[in-house]
Amino acid sequence: MEATAHKSLKEPIIITTYQTQCLEDYIDNGGYETLKNVLTKYKPNEIIEQIKASELLGRGGAAFPTGIKWNFTAQIKADHKFVICNADEGEPGTFKDRWILEHKPHSLIEAISICAYSVGGDKGYIYIRGEYAESINRVRKALKEAYDNGFLGENILESGFSFNIELRRGDGSYVCGEETALIESIEGKRAFPRFKPPFPGIKGLWGYPTVINNVETLANIVPIIKNGADWFKNYGTKQSSGTKLYSVSGSVNKSGVIEANLGVTLKELLDAAQGMKNNKVFKCALIGGASGGFVYKNELDLPLSYETLKEAGKTLGSGAVLFLSEDDNGESLLKNILTFFKHESCGKCVPCREGYPKLIAMYEAFLENRIKAENIMKLADVMFKTSLCALGQSAKMPLETYFKS
């Protein structure tokens, strides 16, 4: 897979290798030193303070502050606590977690262990979608290497801290990436999202406090602890610190993962992707995946950070950037998106289950000039307000930003 650091980055945080790091390579590059320092020199709350100070926001889509999330779980007394790495990456157009899983599996093991030490967790899970066969192989191998060499298991690095991580495979369900649905899935059930609150940090796997973080979020943990929160905040914008792995695809010359400062512009990403294919004219980009929004020519200079996109009524989401040219059919793309959500709806709640088929019928009527866009938006808005999980809320953004073109 093509993965590059944007030229404006002096030193990438995540894309620091071009091959898979086996245990030896990882250790040669300073791997597991941070874990050792953490276990022997720091108190759990000192680690949480560092993560809070870094202002790292969750990279799975919802951009919740990671330090605050860890702190919730750390504060609770419980017989068990869990840490889950969400590697179910299913948001259409997103493939950055796959790069991390395939290239830096040990950085995830190290980060999950650091998280467990900080919040008092005694067991971890890496939940990978079954379609990611290569990622599964690499992570499985890395787990074995870590166990065989004393980086996981009993009395890690002779620190007195013991911790286990197990792999779980999903397969063929988008809603499984929703954190509570993922927890249900680990419990061996159908992946129906749970009602929130209580949030997983308070009541998660088997009812115990559970930290659940995205792969890319976790990939930032070791660099932050190693180099400090201030170093991390040199990257990105004031309100969105750090870098982001943008999954760039579509009608461009070079698709791939690009690591850039949060706040990089769409134009800069397009240049890094070597421009539009066959010199076609840029029409728009779908940012944030199927549940994201369309961004147009007049917004090419918009910085791609969490706050700027939110202000513009859009979302950065997972950081997927799908470039469309004048020849690409946006109309049929929108129908594809609605059909995707209809198919992936778990059916637990009425607005989403009944809403999507109706939305599609209305969209078809709209294309035949039989109804107005505002009629569709009324339904999308009701779904947004009343659906149990974000899947049912997801139609609003692509529809709204498409109609506003």
């Binding site: 290569e134 159908r190 791939g256």
Partner: protein, 155 residues
């Protein structure tokens, strides 16, 4: 490996349900689960048969219907849609003479359309069992299918 041997790899922890189902599916020539598998698995994990059945019918990776030696999953989401994945799907179905259940005439292939496979950098893409294929066109598809039919690519 038969189901009894697969169970030996796992403790009676309910969270192994999907893992066991994955292994059971992989061990079958036609890559589908049957009711008997679910009975054995649910008894082992001490869960209701209905719970195992519920899970097996929720995740589209599992099927209680007859599948095939080669399961072809054609990505149909956003990026691949833009790159004309629907044409790829139709081409495959006609190349393989698929019936209404999307099984090929020779019974070797089962074709389905799936959500994003995360292979957007090599779109249009598909998976056959655990192998990924990208930058597809009619010629490459013909070649891949031929190779599988001749058994030169055992995935």
């Amino acid at each position: 490996m038969d189901i009894e041997n697969i169970l030996k790899k796992y403790s009676k922890d309910k969270s192994y349900l999907l893992e066991i189902m994955h292994d059971a599916k992989e061990s079958k020539e036609n890559r589908s689960l049957d009711l008997n598998d679910l009975k054995v698995i649910s008894k082992y994990l001490n869960i209701n048969l209905s719970a195992a059945y519920g899970a097996a019918t929720f995740y589209s990776a599992f099927s209680l219907k007859l599948q095939a030696k080669y399961i072809i999953r054609v990505c149909s989401s956003t990026v691949c849609h833009i790159k004309k994945s629907y044409d790829i799907l139709l081409f495959l179905k006609s190349l393989l003479n698929c019936d209404d259940d999307n099984l090929s005439k020779d019974g070797l292939f089962a074709v389905s359309e799936v959500g994003c496979l995360g292979l957007c950098d090599i779109s249009p893409s598909m998976m056959i069992n655990n192998q990924v294929y990208g930058n597809l066109d009619e010629n490459s598809i013909k070649r891949i299918v031929e190779e599988l039919k001749n058994g030169s690519n055992g995935t």
